[in-house]
Symmetry: C3
Subunit: 334 residues, 3 copies
């Protein structure tokens, strides 16, 4: 796609500073951009790259405008403006709407004629696939799965029986929806499996990253509400409920029966215990552990950053005896 | 399935309080249960739900009986009673025992006539598949794999050459058994790969969750003994040995050559170092790190739970200097 | 394969102590080795096993030679010698070079006649597959992917469009290369997806473990340079650059736009924040979190090892109030 800077100003709502006729064909980073490309500055880390950029135009905030060596689109939210322009200049490839010869469908399926089912996909019985849906190669859909309009399963996605996926959902390769939760009861020394008879409900506009897993409910359903965004290798336990527009970064795990509110942001490699409640608008920074309910919106943390190994070796001995040492000190000084 | 409460009392061993004729068709939660459904109370978190439940019967302990508004099954182990009843009311779907036309088998395979091999499965040479085994769609079994009676590979499971899987095993989607362990030797600046010539032995009644990975041994085998239960996204390194009936929750990792005893419980997101030994009956709570052998049964922990971010920012500075600060304090007060 | 100890001494460069004619057919551990097998001692943990070994020969260091009950190959780097000998005695199976009937290829592909494409592989348009490449069963390669000479995709590997893979690369089952990075911009309460238009470049001699995921770049590429070794279930975010011969152990995650130098070693279950730089020759021990750039080579740590649960319960209360408590103590004693 291609557009003039004037058109990009109009579609994004950002203020134009410079030539409206300037032709833009692509986005790029400040450092790599060439003539005909637009870039953006939204992270202070890259502020120095602005001075020497070869981009034809840059999206930036009012305060950075004075350092901009070329045309500009000015906005309070440059990254959002970038998102809109990047989506316009780099639209998704449209699909043909066909079922590959090698795809295998069970009985009673209803596949919309505008849906694409790729090679070596295996689909069970009574599966419903909506308009414009894309089911990528080597994916497996078990019985009674429903995929609503315009959702995309990139490749090698597994969806177990009875799972319901909303509109405009993106499931990246290796995603597993609806595998059994980890439900076990002990009899003497042995574990007895609890049947997992709930399902998974995925709302509209949800995106789930590569190799993430969302377990089916034990009895009630596991639920990801509209606009939830999940990164790669995230594990969501059975009966978890995640509120609208909450985002969870990579390598995090949410244990069973926990409820997370709306608009939360969970940093990467975080772990959240089971059977707790996290209210709306909570931010958990990366590598944190949450073991109790959080009732007040705000930012919470527990990750421990590295020090030099020789110092850490001494510190962990102190940490192992922390209560005892502080108790002794307090006794002595009182 | 359907049963009377009297029948459910009999099969589960729980004491009947109320009508033996009460008809039960399904399990449900206390909150969602309707007429004809049985629920249970085993987690104090849900005690209030008992008072208003619409369930026809509830499985609970002696002490909760007085609050029960309907028929009851009374037991010291209500969750175990629930497990037995849920398994009875919600039995697994039985399979037909057939090999799909699109499944591809190598030479010298021995597939029992009661086994089911689904669409687009790829099986190498000399693979043995026992009675009642289910190999779900898009799974791959390399040469010389053996799967014993009644085991189920749900879908998209990969089993590398020579791996042996016991009876009644469940492998969830995305499981990889027998990929190479991380074995490298350094020559100057470069890494040389160590051939991984051991295999993986999976005992009977093992369950392995979605996208978990069990590496093959470097020389000897990696072994999961009977009754081991592994949740989703767990990584088991080469030459690990896990004892009978040990359970490992999601997102945990066990590094190579570590031995874990029987009946251990490893909480979610835990990490266990390589070349150590953990004795029988050890519980590791979630988000813990184990870097030395544990020789005494008991409960061990190291996860650090969140605090408000502004407090945490000050605490981590203290933690980085912990030994130095305490050393100074002790000097001063002695 | 089979060789005399003299031949193995020659090919590995280790000094022979004992009979040059001794015939060796296989490697094994000190504990399990039988007549005709060679073992090694490189980890002190297994020193006692040397005394009773039934191996015909042992690879070991000068200092252990005096305890060796049989023939020996002596070296300063016994594990490296072992690696060379194991690779010689246990060579990889050679492949036939053929495209399975059930593999599905798009238009414009260029598959070298010595490459092997296994059953149920799905390949898009304009894909280039080099000499001796092995594409295992149920793998998916999207459009414009290039795989260079002698690389192996074991099984069920997904490579998204435009990704470039170097020579002698090994991709284990469940690996996903080039899925979209986690790029989102906020508009009011909702997330807008940022198109991920960069790709992934994998250098030569890279190995990536089972179910690991390497995201494509947002604009520029994600890059793993020559000799990088990645274990299982590792997540590499978009625009990460990893230097030559760096090794990352299992369950680690690297957030977006971070640069890691050459010859680094990242321990298992480590988390590295986004937009930081780690210089060459840095070692991060297991279960550590890195949230700031590291400019000095060395060893860094932050993992917290377990204590008994009853002690930990008191310690974490102290840790939550650490700054406040120390502040009070310091005030009091000054």
């Amino acid at each position: 796609m291609s557009a003039t800077l004037g058109e990009l100003s109009q579609l994004s709502g950002a203020r134009l500073e410079g030539s409206s006729d300037c032709a833009i064909t692509s986005v790029n980073t400040l450092r790599q951009a060439k003539q005909g490309e637009i870039s953006f500055l939204s992270n202070r880390h890259y502020a120095n790259d602005l001075l020497d950029t070869k981009a034809s135009a840059v999206i930036l905030s009012e305060e950075d405008l004075k350092h901009c060596p070329t045309h500009a689109l000015v906005s309070d939210t440059p990254y959002l403006v970038y998102a809109k322009i990047a989506n316009f200049l780099h639209p998704e490839i449209s699909r043909d709407g066909s079922v590959a010869d090698s795809a295998i469908l069970g009985s009673g399926c209803d596949v919309d004629k505008t849906a694409t089912v790729c090679a070596n996909v295996v689909i069970g019985n009574n599966v419903i696939i909506g308009a414009g849906v894309y089911v990528g190669p080597n994916s497996t859909l078990e019985d009674n799965v429903k995929i609503d309009t315009a959702s995309k399963l990139i490749a090698n996605v597994t969806i177990c029986n009875d799972v319901i996926v909303g509109k405009n959902v993106i499931l990246h390769p290796g995603v597993v929806l609806g595998a059994d939760g980890f439900g076990l009861a002990k009899e003497d020394d042995e574990w007895i499996k609890i049947p997992q008879i709930g399902s998974v409900l995925i709302g509209d506009n949800v995106e789930i990253g590569a190799n993430s897993t969302i377990d089916r409910g034990a009895i009630e359903n596991t639920v990801l509400k509209n606009g939830v965004k999940i990164d790669n290798q995230v594990q969501i336990g059975h009966n978890v409920v995640i509120g609208e527009n909450t985002a969870i970064a990579g390598c995090s795990g949410i244990a069973g029966s926990t409820t997370i509110g709306k608009r939360c942001m969970i940093g990467g490699a975080s772990s959240i215990s089971g059977h707790i409640e996290i209210t709306d608008d909570v931010t958990i920074t990366g590598m944190s552990g949450v073991s109790n309910s959080i009732k007040t919106p705000g930012i919470y943390s527990s990750g421990l950053p590295v020090t030099e190994n020789r110092i850490w070796r001494k510190n962990i001995v102190r940490m192992k005896n922390l209560d005892e040492t502080i108790r002794k000190i307090l006794l002595k000084i009182q």
